[in-house]
Symmetry: C2
């Protein structure tokens, strides 16, 4: 059942049917109704491929996520899907692995699927203008604080929390509770990763209190996985058995850290407090409840989509939005 069949059954031309179906103005009411009825009766469903081909674009928005399995992302993906659907677009999900180049992946996905826009979730958020030059659709980088090359700043949007700030706030919270020997559990402090920023916040909080930075308190897990975080915590404890608190830069790492503490014979929070950043729903149900800087996950997702759709439809230019996290206190931190 194509537009052509309808045209024939109505005795009009293909062009006319197309016009009716696309709500073009220049069609007489009589013909319009006739065509509409015929289409209805024939259960006509437009062929998107053909339309996309001639318009050389689809109504798809690509979501490139590094690590779909990351529990922190699920709620954001949830919100993104909802918002994309509500805006009349289609979600095309594509996940990449740690060492894939998200820009390249996004570029080829966008090209081959003729997508209207892209959302990067968990990307590195640090793009050179030269890198993103191959992207010819608007995109927004979600979740991680974005570092800008001056020129690149003008060409895409971002929605994230202020990682450095929240790292600062988390550390500050521990300091205010009297902790001084605070271990940091981090994926990596280099590579312009998310960890680097949260770690910078940690450093800043210490500096503000006049506490010298002690490198032996910093432990890199190398990734966000639970086993890596567990091992890292073990190393940290072995080296610095005297810490009274751990700042894990992600809730999931904090879970692994808590287990490592327990396995090494330490109680949380009696022997060692734990604070994190992310705010998984489940963290509120741990015993003790994990203290964490909760990211506004749903809002991150919906804002990302809104920003992107605004760009796609030309309603607004690119924007860079920072959303605040919320301190969610639990029993995992105690005063000393």
């Amino acid at each position: 059942m194509t537009i052509k069949d309808i045209a024939e059954s109505c005795g009009v031309s293909i062009s006319t049917v197309s016009r009716v179906l696309n709500n073009h103005p220049d069609v007489s009411p009589k013909v319009r109704q006739k065509v509409l009825d015929a289409a209805q009766k024939a259960h006509y469903v437009p062929n998107n491929s053909a339309r996309d081909l001639v318009k050389s674009r689809s109504e798809g928005i690509g979501l490139i996520v590094r690590g779909v399995g990351n529990p922190f992302f699920t709620q954001i993906i949830h919100a993104i899907e909802r918002a994309i659907d509500a805006a009349g677009y289609t979600l095309v999900l594509h996940q990449i692995s740690t060492d894939d180049d998200e820009i390249m992946a996004g570029a080829s996905l966008a090209r081959s699927k003729k997508l209207r826009g892209l959302i990067f979730l968990g990307g590195k958020g640090d793009y050179q203008s030269s890198d993103i030059a191959i992207l010819d659709v608007p995109f927004v980088c979600c979740t991680y604080t974005v570092r800008f090359t001056p020129l690149a700043r003008e060409s895409y949007s971002s929605v994230a929390i202020d990682d450095k700030m929240e790292g600062y706030r988390a550390t500050r919270f521990l300091l205010e509770k009297g902790h001084r020997k605070i271990g940091v559990l981090i994926n990596s402090k280099h590579d312009r990763s998310i960890g680097e920023l949260r770690y910078m916040g940690y450093c800043e909080a210490l500096a503000e209190m006049g506490i010298p930075l002690d490198e032996t308190l910093v432990e890199e897990a190398g990734s966000f996985t639970l086993p890596a975080a567990y091992e890292a915590t073990c190393r940290l404890l072995e080296r610095r058995g005297d810490i009274t608190a751990v700042f894990a830069i992600a809730d999931s790492m904090a879970v692994a850290a808590a287990k490592a503490l327990h396995d090494k014979g330490r109680c949380m929070p009696e022997d060692c407090s734990v604070i994190a950043i992310d705010g998984l729903e489940m963290s509120s149900y741990f015993v003790p409840v994990l203290t964490t800087m909760a990211q506004p996950q749903t809002e991150l997702g919906t804002t990302a989509v809104k920003t992107l759709v605004d760009m796609i439809e030309g309603r607004a230019g690119n924007r860079h939005i920072l959303l605040p996290a919320t301190l969610r206190t639990g029993g995992s931190v105690r005063s000393i």
Copy 2:
């Protein structure tokens, strides 16, 4: 950058380039390499709309999931995406809410997007032939045990664990550890829900040991959410303070149950053991480690895709596959 540009730059015909790009055999190695190089150098990305148009179908597979936010699904979705990608298809994700009709949602998605197949994740898994008649693409129902209307059984595939059996195994494990007063935490024991089946397994295990079923040990949360499970556990404890173990039908519910136990002054596992079904990765990092019947999440996802693709490509008819869960023991259960 189209196939035509490459053809020109190589001095060959469009057909030849197409053949090279589609790995057709009848091309001389020399030409093939030349074309490949050119395509590579030009960052050629095929236009899917055009391809779909001529082949009159897309390469899309729809994933209809009820509750993307459910942590248990994330790993499965992850596996599904990977497998779909590897098979050369594209994932179109669509989530629905609790009370949406998944079949209707799937049907309209499949039509408008010209999808090749559908995967239902977390659907009710209990379809009447009359319901699924509107679906004109193959589909597979993943995750939940499927109950069949005789005719419907012939028309679609399913991949799941044997919910009743695993419910039985979990309960049986507790019984073997000496527990006799075992509370059940369940979303619902009616509505042909997943809970009903796991609960049936519980009943069977008790019956096998000659233990009469006690309705006061059964608590329905009404959903799988953490707050609901928490409240349900509180009610259960209030009514039956004498239970020595809880069988939660999902890991996430077990987390909430553990917290409720703690908040009601009970230690896990000293005062009350907990066992669940699902096997979230994170459950292995809880203190104590959650004992659970771990579903083979990755395998569920890949098998679902494989089954679907086999149907799509006509390699095999529909199948109904039950995958075994694996008992993962942790400290959350103790012998009495």
